[in-house]
Amino acid sequence: MSVRKYLVILSMMFFGASGDALLARGMKQAGAIDIHHILNVFAVLSSPYILLGIVSLLIFMGSYMTALSFADLSYVMPATAISYVLMTLLSIFWLHERVGAERWSGIVFIVTGVGLVAGGPWRTGDPPESGAGLDAAEERR
């Protein structure tokens, strides 16, 4: 895989993690949403943490879509789990939290899973029905 493709995957991991962290913090500040007043969910959109989280998740979405344009869903999906590892590492080195054996075992599980999928092919199944594949065919004609 080219450097550009690795960068797309890395950007997906980074912005996925920061988006989740910012949203979690924003929702903690906003408090509980009553099931009977479900539309109040839109009120949390005024929180800067929620807004920054949404911007991060939009960049994540762009990277995720780009990754899916050249790799399988079953290849890209496990890679998104690295955001959990990044969040845990962030809490160790930035927030100086103590991380117990249970959380370390979670990190080992995820890293092993991502390592396993990364070692295999990134695209399987049928070739694309249109798009770049068709462009190449058109040019050959």
Binding site: R4, K5, L23, M27, A30, G31, A32, I33, D34, I35, I38, V41, V44, M61, Y64, M65, T66, L68, S69, F70, D72, L73, S74, Y75, V76, M77, P78, A81, Y84, V85, T88, G100, E102, R103, S105, G106, I107, V108, F109, I110, V111, T112, G113, V114, L116, V117, G119, G120, T124, G125, D126, P128, E129, S130, G131, A132, G133, D135, A136, E139
Partner: protein, 127 residues
């Protein structure tokens, strides 16, 4: 009753997230490698091709449903159940959907990877 609501929220989140991921993956597979498209046609035609995909917007619609049901669930449901269950189950349902609907070759290695990630996410989001 709260447990029922929590599982309802988990069910909606997992189903909507999986539908969203499958539809977006299908749309992007049909559109083709965006990097290659940009090199051949330029940025604007590539963007137009992406924006013309109805399947992509259907996927984003389902992702939005998953996002808001997760947001609502996380704010009132049992956090120790809602967070880990909806996050971890989506990896399993996505692998199943990738095999059955997208006809991807989800071999033993990818299943093993998905199960490792499922366990890891379950542990990390529970602790």
């Amino acid at each position: 009753m709260k447990v029922l609501y929590t599982w309802l929220c988990i069910g909606i989140t997992v189903c909507a997230a999986t539908a969203g991921d499958v539809l977006v993956a299908l749309a992007m597979r049909r559109i083709g490698d965006l990097g290659e498209l940009r090199r051949r046609r330029g940025f604007v035609p590539m963007l137009l091709r992406v924006l013309k995909s109805g399947v992509l917007f259907a996927g984003i619609f389902f992702m939005a449903i998953a996002f808001f049901s997760n947001l609502v669930g996380l704010s009132w449901a049992d956090l120790s159940l809602m967070g880990p269950a909806s996050a971890a189950l989506t990896y399993i349902s996505n692998a199943l959907a990738a095999k059955l609907l997208l006809k991807e070759d989800v071999n033993r290695r990818r299943w093993l990877a998905t199960i490792f990630v499922f366990c890891g996410v379950l542990i990390l989001s529970h602790t």
